[in-house]
Structures are given as structure tokens and as C-alpha cells.
Amino acid sequence: MTCPDPGVLSQLLDDELAPAEAARTRAHVATCAACGERLAGLERASALGRRLAGAADGPAAPPGGGCPGAEDLAGWAERRLPAAVFQAVETHLRDCDACLVEAVAAVRATLPAPAPALAVPESLKARVASRWSAPEAAGRGGLVLRLVRAGVQLVDRHVVAPLLDVEAWAVPAPAVRAGEDRSALGFRIRAARAEIRASVVPEGDGVGVRLTLLDDRERALVAQRVVLRRHGRAMYSARTDAAGTVQLPRLEPGVYEVACPEIETDFRLDLRR
């Protein structure tokens, strides 16, 4: 075989040759030093080009003036605008980097989603469910637990399936400084294969909350993650200790969510003054 055109070698690099031609060319390159050297050079250039192209980017210019609204960009992306408006947007995009970046995002949004829809994680379902009180008929309406002493007056709880049961009882505060009269509230949340025992103790303006995670035989669940959220944002996260216990930081009055993802249990704590 005579030496192939160097352009063919470039195509070989990009898998652009028909299988038979690719095999023929490879066989030739293996025996021809000159073509081997040419191919190596092209390969180096190809790698260099890829690195150069990947490294090139910079901050986009800030928007200028007279930018089209989001709705017009959406219409432009879908090619549904009247011709005059469409042209006006096109003209604007010729000068405005910021809008063109937006426009690319708009076009991408019109493409059909390539991947199958992801399954909604159970923890998210539970979190969303915890924000809605279940209908009374289902017997899982919000339960209000009252604390009579200063500090906490209300502990309002919304829990989600598969929780089975809640019990509340008064417990002595674990540590009471001399001269202070404190009372605490305990409650127990039973899930399918686990149980959470909580004790809520007034502490100054706020409350201290201690949670103990147990399995269905009342053995401590060790190293379970417990996440405390407020307004949907995680503010504290810890793992249970050897006794299955985790002490949450002192909480100011407000609405919190407590999530124990590993036992798939979420509940809401509503602490009001």
C-alpha cells in the first residue's frame, strides 16, 4: 500500500474512516515509520487542541441595556415570536453576551429531557409530607403537646407515615440547677422498625432537645445521622453516640424539622414562646 494522504490519518484519529479503510490504514501505519511519525504528530496536535479549547473561557460581560424580558427569550427559543419581535431579539443578542448566555439556557430548556425521570427519594417525600398536616380522618393530625412552664409552651408535632404512634409523658429534667424549677417533656415516636425518644427541656429563652434512636428491640441505633433544619436549610447535623443519643444545640422558638434519613423518619418541631 502506498502512504495514505495525511488527511486520512487525521480522520483515523477521529474514527471517521469506514472500518475496512481504518484497518488498512492502521496496518500500513504499523509498518511505515514516516506515517507513524505523521500520525503521532497529528495526535499531539489533537490533544493540544482539546486542551486549548477546554481551557478557554472567561467571565461573561455584564448585561448592557434594553434587554428582552424572559418571556420574549422563551418565545425566541421556541421560535414562536412574531417575525418582527424575533428579529429584534436576534439583533439584541448580536451585542449582548449576558442575554445570549440566557438564550442558550432557554433553548436547552426546550429540548426534550434525555434521561428518564429520576425517582423521587423517599426522604424528600417524607419532608414534603411533613409540611402538610394529614387529614384528620387519617388520624395523623398535628398533635399539640403543652408545656406549662416558662420557656416552651407548645410543642406541635407533625409526623409522617410510616410512623405508628406517639406517646407523651412528663419526665424529670436531666439536670436542674439549684433553685430552678424546670420541667421537661418527653415523647416517643414509633416508626416501622425504629423508635425515637425525645426529651425537650426549657433552657433560658429556648429549649434543649435530646433524641435517642432505638431499634425495634430497644437497642441503641449508633452512628445514625440526625439533621436539624430550619426554613428548609440544614443548620445542624450529628451522629448518634454509643447510646443512640444525640443532643441538639439550644433551639430558639421557631419551627424546625428533624430528619433521621437512615431510618427514614422526619418530624417537625414547632417551638413557640
Binding site: E16, L48, A105, A109
Partner: protein, 258 residues
């Protein structure tokens, strides 16, 4: 984004009817559909707002994987990108060709899109749509590559967002003028430094993703490049070959220099 964070965002979107308040601005003028408006505008601006409310600079998602760290210890997996001067010597058309060839890992900059529109004789809208379509097709060829591409997209989105924030911070500092010791200025200065550090980390992460992607051999098929340029495949073949020859010459010349 980890599922946990995504869930945070989901809850944020519906909390206090945020999403519904934004949807109210939709008027249905000129036939724009709500779906597109929702996907690219409403959700995006909510996302930016959500990101802004997070107090720290994403320390959680900036966490490096063990693979990242080992790459750091052993030095970069390949030579650092060559001096930008080489990139600067290329003509805009040549730069565009290089990016088109690596469309899976490179996004076209606004100027590239305009040039492509001019070369292909298409409207900007059709150009942008054609590029997006080809990119999507490339990504669907390999699951692993598609994952890397998604990671790259999110790193890129983060970079865009924080760079804008850095620009704003610098601009505010400029407006404050010379009063070097005011608490506001000190606060802005701290913010600027944190942003710069976070940006540097993110850029490192992005470079590692790119390097990982380059281990996959995925060049854009010539027929797709030809479609984008609205040119015959033969022309694309010879353009790419000539460009590679030129790059090899430039590289040789650069290495010959002391």
C-alpha cells in the same frame, strides 16, 4: 447536586409560594409557553436566590472526592495547559473549529455562537438550537461521559454565578472609594478573598473534570460539525487536518524557543 441539597431546593421553591409568585409575572404574550419560561427563567432565578441565601460558599458541595485529592498529591495528571499565547495566535475560525471538535466538553462562548451563525447562514436561534441538539446527542452516547458532562455543567454554573458576585463585590469596593478602614470595606474585602479562594478551588475541580473527560475519546462526528457549519463533510475533514498541522508546527516552534 447531592439528593439532600436538591431536596432542600425543592422545599425552598414551594415554601412561601415563591414559585407561584414568580409565575404570576408570566403574561403569555407572543406565544411563549409556560413550560420554557418556568424551566429556564423561574427555576433558574429561584436557584440563584437560593444559592445567595446560603451563608457560606457551598463548602458542602465543594468537598473533594478522594480521587480529586490524589490528583492533587501526584501533581496534575497531564502537562498544565500550554501558555495562552498559543490560543491567542489562532484565528477565531480556528478556535471555533477546535471547540466544535470537542463540543462535549466545551461550550461555545457568545462570540463563537455569533461566528458560527455567520458562517452557517443561520439565525442565532437556530444556531444555538443546533449546537444544543448535537451536544445532547454526544452526551447520550456514553453514561459515564454524560455524568461528567453534568458535573461540568454544574461546576460551570457555579463559576458563572460566583464570578458575577465577585464582579459586584469589586464594583462595590470601588464605589466605596479610599476609606480603607471602614467596617463595610473590611467585610467586602473578606468576601472578595473568600470568593477568590472558592473560585480557585472550583476552577481546579473543573480542570480535573476536563482532564477526566479527555481520557474518553469523544470528538464530535464530522457530519455533526458539517451540519453546524452548514458545510460539506469534505471541507470539515480538510479544515481539521490543516488546523492540526498548524498546531503541530506552532507547538514545535514553541518548544524550540528557550
Amino acid at each position: 447536586m447531592p439528593a439532600d441539597r436538591a431536596a432542600d431546593f425543592y422545599v425552598y421553591v414551594f415554601e412561601r409560594d415563591r414559585i407561584f409568585q414568580r409565575l404570576r409575572t408570566f403574561e403569555g404574550r407572543n406565544g411563549a409557553r409556560l413550560r420554557t419560561f418556568l424551566a429556564f427563567h423561574v427555576l433558574k432565578s429561584l436557584f440563584l436566590e437560593w444559592q445567595r441565601t446560603s451563608r457560606d460558599l457551598d463548602t458542602v458541595s465543594l468537598e473533594e472526592t478522594p480521587a480529586d485529592r490524589s490528583a492533587d498529591d501526584g501533581g496534575p495528571p497531564e502537562p498544565v495547559a500550554p501558555a495562552p499565547s498559543l490560543w491567542e495566535t489562532l484565528a477565531p475560525e480556528e478556535r471555533l473549529d477546535l471547540k466544535l471538535l470537542s463540543l462535549l466538553e466545551c461550550d461555545l462562548a457568545p462570540d463563537d455562537l455569533r461566528l458560527l451563525a455567520r458562517l452557517s447562514g443561520r439565525s442565532l436561534r437556530d444556531t444555538v438550537a443546533a449546537v444544543a441538539e448535537v451536544q445532547q446527542r454526544l452526551g447520550s452516547r456514553d453514561v459515564r461521559v454524560a455524568e461528567l458532562r453534568a458535573a461540568l455543567d454544574s461546576a460551570w454554573g457555579w463559576l458563572v454565578l460566583r464570578r458575577r458576585e465577585l464582579q459586584e463585590t469589586v464594583e462595590k469596593m470601588r464605589l466605596l472609594g479610599v476609606d480603607h478602614d471602614s467596617p463595610t470595606r473590611r467585610r467586602l474585602e473578606t468576601r472578595r478573598q473568600r470568593l477568590e479562594a472558592a473560585l480557585a478551588t472550583r476552577l481546579g475541580q473543573r480542570d480535573r473534570l476536563l482532564a477526566q473527560m479527555r481520557t474518553f475519546k469523544v470528538t464530535t462526528p464530522y457530519k455533526d460539525i458539517a451540519y453546524l457549519l452548514n458545510a460539506p463533510v469534505g471541507t470539515v475533514c480538510s479544515r481539521i487536518f490543516r488546523l492540526r498541522q498548524r498546531l503541530e508546527t506552532l507547538r514545535g516552534a514553541q518548544e524550540a524557543r528557550p
